[in-house]
Every structure is written in C-alpha cells, then in structure tokens.
Symmetry: C2
Subunit: 348 residues, 2 copies
C-alpha cells in the first residue's frame, strides 16, 4: 500500500545517470554563489533591506539542496569529500535559518493572541507590539487585548526579538568566519567540478531516488494516521501539562517525515532538472508538515515564556491558552496531512 | 429542507387527543410523588447515600417533563393554573440541578487536568483531590501532575466543592420550604386530576407537537453548521482571551437548541406514552449538546478560577491550558452534532 502513495518518478522513462546529478549540483552551487554575491552587495547589516533577506533565503535554499543530494546520492559521490562537506552544510543551513525562524514564530504567536482576543490584526503583524529592539514599529494597538494577552504578547516579543537579534548576529559572524569561507570555497569548486565516483557518470540515479521515496513512505506508514484522521482526537495536547518540559516527543516522527519529504522532493529535482513538474500533493503535504512544525515550536515558545520568573498570573493564563491553541494547530495540521495523504492513496 | 431533518411523529397515524396528554401528565406526577417519598425515606442529608441522589434525579426528571408539557401543550391546559405552576417548576428544577452540575463540572475538569498531564486517572474521579469538605476521599495522587496542574486542580476542587456544598444546602432548604410544599400539592392534585380545557379531550395533540419540532428545526437551521462541519475551524476559542468576562455569547444558540431538542423529545413522549420508540438520532444529538453545554460551563469555571487573586503563575498557566482544552471540547461537540444532524438529513 505504501508503494502506491506516491507516483513513481514518472517523467523519467529511461535511466537518468550521474551526469544529471552533476548538472544539478553545479546549478545549485551556481545559485549559491549568486546569492552570496547578492548578499555581499546588499549592504551593511544595519540597513536591513529586502535584498539580504532574500539572499539569505536563496543561500539556504541551495545549501539544503546540495546537502540533500550528498545524502541521497552518496554512493555516486567521492566519499571523503561528501562526508566532510555535509556537516558543514548542516551547520550553515541551521545558522542561517534561525533568524527567520524566530521572526515567523513571533508573528504566528502574536497573530494567535489577537485571534484569541477576537481582534482583527490592525497592520503588519511583525511590526506590531515590537518594543523597538530591532526595528521601529507603529504604536502598538492593544486596545482589544486583555491585560494578560497584551502582557503575554509583550513578553513573547521581548524574548523572541532578543533571540532573533542574537541569531542575526550569529549568522553575520558565521558568514564572516573562516569556517564559512572554507565551505564557500568547496561550493565554488563544485560549481565547475563535481567529484563523482568513477562509475557514476554511467550509473542510473533512479534506484537511489526511489530509495528516498521509500524511506518517506515507510515513515508515513509509521505515523498514527488513523488517529490523526479522526477530528478532535485531542492527542496533540495530551502532554500539555506534563511535568516533562522537553518538546513533545509525539511530534518527532512528524518532523522526521517533513525532512524525508524534502529529501524526496529534492531527489526528484535532481532527476528532472531544477524545475520539475509540480507535484501538488507533495506540495500540500509539505505545507501541512511545515505548519505542524511551526505550531509545535510556537507552542513550545509559549510554554517556555510561561516559565519566566515573576510574571503576572494573567500573563501566565494567556500563555496557557496560547500554548493549547498552538497544540490544537499541531493536531489540525496532522489532520490536514492525513486528508491530503489519504487523497493520494485513493486517486493513484 | 429543515422540514426533512426529523421524521414526523410517525408512530401516530391517527389523532392523539388531550386524553393522552392527561395520561402523560398523571404518570409524570405519580413519578414525582414516588421520587419524593423515596427522597424522604432516604435518610438525613449527612448520610448521603445513593438513594437520595437517584431520588433527586427522578424528581428533576418528572419536573422537567411536566414543565415542558405545560409549555408545548399550553392551549389544552387551564391557562391560570399553567401560568402559575410553570415558574415554580423552573425554580425547582434549577435548584435541584445545581449540586449535580457542580459535581460533574469538577469531575470533568479534574479528568481533563489528568489527561493533559498524560496521566491515567487512578481511581474514582470525583473522589480524587477532594479536600474533605463534602466527603472523605483517598489520598490524592498528584505524583504525575506538574505543580501548576496540581494547584489548579486543588483550586478548582476548593471552589467547585464549596459551590456544590452550598447548592446541596440550598436544595435541602428548598425541599423543606413552604414554596416547595405548594408545588408538591399542585403535583399531587395533577396525579389524579389534570386541568384540561373544555375542548381538550377531543383536540389533536399532534399539531402542537409538530410546532415544537419546527421550533427545533428552525433553531438548528440558524446554527453555524457549515463552519461546525469543518474540523479544526478554531471558532470556539476565538474569544478565549477576550476582555469580556461573560460566558461566550456564541454558545447561546447551541444551548437554546439543546432546550428545544428536549421539548421536542418530551412532546413525543406525551404523544406515544412514557416509553416512546427510541429515536437514536435525537438521542445522539442530545448527547452532543449536553457535552457542548458541559464543556462550555467547565471552560468558564476554569477561566473564573484563573481570576482568583494571588494565585501562582503556574496555576494560572494550567488553568489557561484547561480553559482552551474545554473550548476545543465545545468545538468538538459542535462538530459531532453537525455530523449527526447531517446524517439525519441524508437518511430521511
């Protein structure tokens, strides 16, 4: 049954060899270098324009794809080179992604606070309730919030803006470090010369891509999809007040599927070229899992903020409501994923 | 479309006259007198046995049915008698119901706290965490709760047990009052002599029962069932942090439907006799609306407890999670009702 969930790599009737992989890696490396140049031309960090943000996103985008290809098509690539580069790419991708993660987490939580207050969000979400730490903002509109919700918003804003500012500095430091320059040098070489194994140019990529797809399908099969398909199963909040302060262990398999889905998607790209035919179902499933991840992390941020010493009870109450709200978002995302995946199984 | 939702009063091909109503009212009055005798024989309030609890429930049961019949079949009954008795029955039903309401609300909230802590409830729910105010309880098992959840449970237990104890006293006082004796006298007369209007014995009851059914169907049609049918619509919590401390106004139409469903059910009983054929769909819909009402009131109790002065932030946080959890129960109950009602519309 799991085999039928995804269409096979169908645009590819005949074999696709290591040469296609080399082409894919070269193009991703070129993207990386272009984004890096754009980032450097974007100006000093103080004048944070759109340019550098997009450039940082493009950098991450190509790094993720190179890293995924090194993983999925490992047997076709020089082992030493591949083994040494992958952890560096993971470090880079992680470091560059943090700032954006904190920013969107704050945005999600403030939007939820306003939704839970029955208020319409007045203007640009990220600009509201900012206490001026990172960027000037219009006067906060807290007229429709309870004291607790307003204080919870201010606390989250303070904590996540601080984290974002730190992540920004860390990313800038990383981009100026010798460690980064070594990675960039590697990728510059990759843009012209891909270290394939001797037999790779004549080897078919498709079995390795299929293996990536099967890892995804196996992981999906292991998910509690029957439960997820029952609306309001109340599973996501089941440890909402657990004494264990660690993130919900029940979320981990879903996060894992999200990563495997990405590996599958990038493997398809490598086979079909940089602009593969859009697989709407895979796209939707990915969005569900992104939402799952975002809500999971937002709920953890609300719970963590509630452990701040000396907060008012009204603040803690609002954070409790917010935490539970985001856990239900987690559950809703699982339901959507189940619906989307079920549809795949039926239509194929 | 609304007309098709419920089967018409189908066991009744021919007319059912006021004599059937008189028979129904006599039997309910007899039930009332039997329950009252059982309650008086049940012993002093201190030795709260099962007997008096069941007796109080049976009293409420018959009072609700008499009251509903007075409402639905008003044109067939002596107007002065009916108008004077109905508010007294409402007072009695309300007074007798409060103790049980507080008890089951506490039980629901403590069960939810344990569920949210990932703990299995150790023994009898109502007996756990009681501070001994009303009845002796086994040692509370708070081992699996966070400090916040345990404190929230203790706070709710204190507040709702106090409310329950007061409701118990109020009910006992009511049952000893001259106001109650006047009601009981009225019902004793009703057991043998129903004050029908002159034309009632030959009047068909069915149009009045159908009118009750139509009031129900109209109220259901006005519910936001399309939204309720979309799982995880996040509507129930939309005012979860609203500055307005009053109960959620969005719940009122659902509570109203619950009452109209009951009136419809009792009208059917009057037509078909005390043991009508069970209408599974009406039964299920009623359970959904009971769950909606219970979760709505439990969420309000959690929110109200969070406004207790000088509570710890951890307690307030747990109450916030609990409030949101019960609001999602509200949303889940609406979804279940929609599913059940939809099924009716399809199968008829």
């Amino acid at each position: 049954m799991a085999q039928q969930h995804l269409e096979p790599t169908d645009p590819l009737a005949g074999p696709v060899t290591g040469d296609a992989l080399a082409g894919y890696l070269r193009s991703q490396a070129t993207e990386f270098l272009r984004a890096l140049r754009q980032h450097r031309e974007g100006g000093a960090p103080a004048q944070a324009q759109e340019g550098p943000v997009d450039a940082a996103r493009a950098l991450r985008r190509s790094v993720r794809r190179i890293s995924a290809s090194l993983h999925t098509f490992r047997p076709l690539l020089d082992a030493d080179w591949s083994e040494s580069l992958r952890p560096e790419l993971a470090w880079l991708s992680g470091t560059l992604g943090m700032e954006h993660a904190y920013e969107s987490r704050l945005e999600r939580l403030l939007l939820a606070l306003h939704r839970l207050s029955g208020a319409v969000f007045p203007t640009q979400p990220t600009a509201v309730m900012t206490n001026g730490a990172a960027h000037p903002a219009p006067a906060p509109d807290r007229g429709n919030l309870t004291v607790g919700a307003a204080k919870a918003g201010a606390l989250l804003d303070r904590q996540l803006t601080l984290a974002r500012t730190r992540a920004h500095s860390t990313a800038l430091q990383a981009l100026g470090s010798s460690r980064f320059h070594a990675v960039a040098d590697h990728i510059a070489v990759l843009a012209s010369e891909v270290p394939l194994t001797r037999t790779a140019p004549a080897t078919d990529l498709r079995p390795l891509a299929t293996a990536a797809q099967e890892r995804l399908e196996d992981a999906v099969t292991a998910l509690p999809l029957v439960t997820a398909g029952h609306p309001y199963n109340a599973e996501a909040l089941i440890h909402g007040l657990s004494p264990d302060p660690s993130p919900h262990p029940q979320d981990a398999p879903w996060h894992q599927v999200r990563l495997l889905l990405r590996l599958h998607r990038y493997a398809r790209e490598a086979l079909t070229g940089a602009n593969p035919p859009v697989d709407g179902r895979i796209h939707t499933a990915g969005l569900c899992l992104d939402r799952h991840r975002d809500a999971s992390e937002a709920s953890a941020a609300a719970a963590s903020a509630a452990r701040t010493p000396r907060i008012a009870p009204a603040t803690a109450y609002a954070l409790g409501v917010l935490h539970a709200d985001q856990r239900h978002e987690v559950e809703a995302a699982r339901f959507s994923f189940q619906q989307c995946w079920q549809k795949q199984a039926v239509t194929t």
